[in-house]
Symmetry: C2
Subunit: 355 residues, 2 copies
């Protein structure tokens, strides 16, 4: 979907720091993905952190990319199954160096397909948080019956209080403005029912807070789980525990359904004919639901643009994550958050914004 | 699926109290459903609570059912959108009278397709809780890639502490023993990751408690959202907020996928040919994933067999809910729980069992 988003142009030169060694298909997917992005946005340039001996030959295949890339050699990389606590102690990993490029102001944003826990921890420690934001969230784009929606938190903040959910709503709102190209995205809090009395204290208090700032957040109330893919709202807000479990369970449902369909379709002549006739449609379906086209979750709330690409991302999926980074830099995401935090703080009070 | 479960026979005479007026298609679905059940289990008899003027003509079509049914007239019924607090104050609703039949020992179990909140509240107040069980849960059967699994809580207990999750595990285990016909079902706690350090305090403490009672619960550790439909475990344990959101979101994903598939298949000649060839397969798929064949969630933890049928249940779906009631009565569900609570209490201590 992002691939077809030709409705904006990057005027200024954007510099992205890439963890060239993170992810199952790194460094190939990283270099190929960057080459794909540069075709769409020739003004972007890259700082690549990783094994120079592997990166240089890959870059040689893409002269335009090579021209706009600087390689910073490091032997160290964080493994996918490495404990974040261990990973954090190592100072020269490709992921850490890439995040540090943002801290030092050398890059506008960082993208990695590496170990999520380590990446989150490094981003929090090195980038710190946006003033007023107590806890970060992972924000992602998901498919709906109506098109697309934004959902957060996917697992950064296990238990969210009312203030956290309020902050997530502010941030998800800004993310959706750019990703969905809507000036007033609708925002809903995930709950067990749509009635005001439903759910625990945190969701009820957050709803009450959001109702006080209608100019800042277009809050429409509670939604239920089945509203998410219906596309009832543009921004789905929940705590990290619930968001993580929900999205993974829904993915599992999707996989199960396709699996059952495929299994049935292998049997019998009629099914085989159908399968052949259906190939173009199944391809479309796969593309419409392809996790790769939604790749690029944002660590939202840290003071800098940090985009997480899926560990198994292909080159084109990685290019989508790069596109998210480009768009968030271009949209001045962090400044927009700061502006809305200031405005919301004036209404809701300092205690909601961790000051 | 329950319809084909011919592997047990009900020897003793089971009496079920039915809220004949609850649900979108009541009383037709209730009477037709009961007639379907009685074909499978001729020993079951019914106490029917509702409008005699509507029920008698319906019963007349099924002489065998009529013979084994007693109708108790009431004009009052709880509306689907009625507030539980209002519904509770009315003393002569069909739902309340049906639950009271269990309290008075006149029926072995109660089944209703009516207002979930009111039904849960009435069951808690009238049936009280099983000694040692602090909070109830809603337990349901869901499809998986491997067959079926049991999941709880679907929304009875919004926030669950470690003791609640431990009790849910004990109860889900017994429910699964009968519903999945497994003597040692595997039990997993839903979490954000499978590592021991993941998640909030309640899931970690519950896991530590369950590891102390391996003879009682076959606890295999944490699972993630995508494990649910994979069928990684037989019993998925979570709090009501998460369970409710997850299952509804997964249902929404299923609906979205079928919707997209249908939409694509209406276009173009190849797709139309495919659609015709696929009809038998789509029918199978629908049957395999049909919510009706999984109908019959159990209010687990209340001191009596109370089964919730979906509000939109058809007659055959309602028959499945009745079958769940029959099986739970036959399996002596409540006594089995009491036995395991006693055994677990001896190891874990009284404070985990609300005594």
């Amino acid at each position: 979907l992002l691939q077809t988003a030709g409705d904006f142009s990057v005027e200024k030169s954007i510099i992205l720091a890439l963890d060239a060694m993170g992810g199952d298909h790194a460094p190939f997917s990283v270099i190929d993905g960057a080459a794909q992005l540069i075709k769409r946005h020739p003004g972007v340039s890259f700082l690549l952190y990783g094994d120079k001996a592997q990166l240089d030959p890959l870059l040689a295949a893409y002269p335009k990319l090579q021209e706009r890339s600087q390689v910073f050699h490091t032997d160290e990389k964080i493994e996918a199954d490495e404990k974040p606590s261990t990973a954090l102690r190592r100072k020269d990993t490709s992921m850490r160096l890439a995040v540090e490029a943002v801290t030092r102001g050398e890059a506008h944003g960082v993208v990695s397909s590496g170990n999520t826990g380590a990446y989150m921890a490094l981003s929090k420690i090195l980038l710190k948080s946006i003033p007023g934001i107590a806890r970060p969230a992972i924000c992602t784009v998901i498919p709906t019956e109506k098109g697309r929606a934004v959902m957060l938190d996917m697992g950064a903040t296990v238990s969210a209080e009312a203030s956290n959910l309020t902050q997530f709503s502010l941030m998800g709102n800004i993310f959706a403005q750019e990703m969905l190209k809507k000036s007033r995205p609708t925002v809903g809090i995930l709950n067990m029912g749509v009635e005001e009395i439903k759910g625990h204290g945190a969701v009820q208090e957050a709803a009450a807070l959001l109702r006080q700032i209608p100019e800042i957040v277009n809050f429409v109330g509670f939604i239920e789980g089945d509203d998410v893919h219906k596309g009832t709202v543009d921004v789905v807000v929940t705590d990290g525990f619930t968001g993580n479990a929900c999205v993974k369970m829904a993915e599992g449902m999707g996989r199960m359904m396709l699996g059952i369909l495929k299994k049935h379709m292998r049997k019998g002549l009629l099914n085989k004919i159908a399968l052949i006739c259906l190939l173009p449609t199944l391809k479309k379906l796969r593309k419409q639901l392809d996790p790769g086209s939604y790749n690029g979750a944002m660590f939202i709330g840290v003071n800098g643009i940090a985009i997480k690409s899926h560990g198994s991302a292909s080159a084109s999926a990685f290019a989508n994550a790069l596109e998210v980074a480009v768009r968030m830099v271009d949209y001045d995401f962090t400044k927009n958050i700061e502006k809305d935090v200031t405005a919301a703080r004036a209404v809701l009070g300092d205690h909601i914004f961790h000051l």
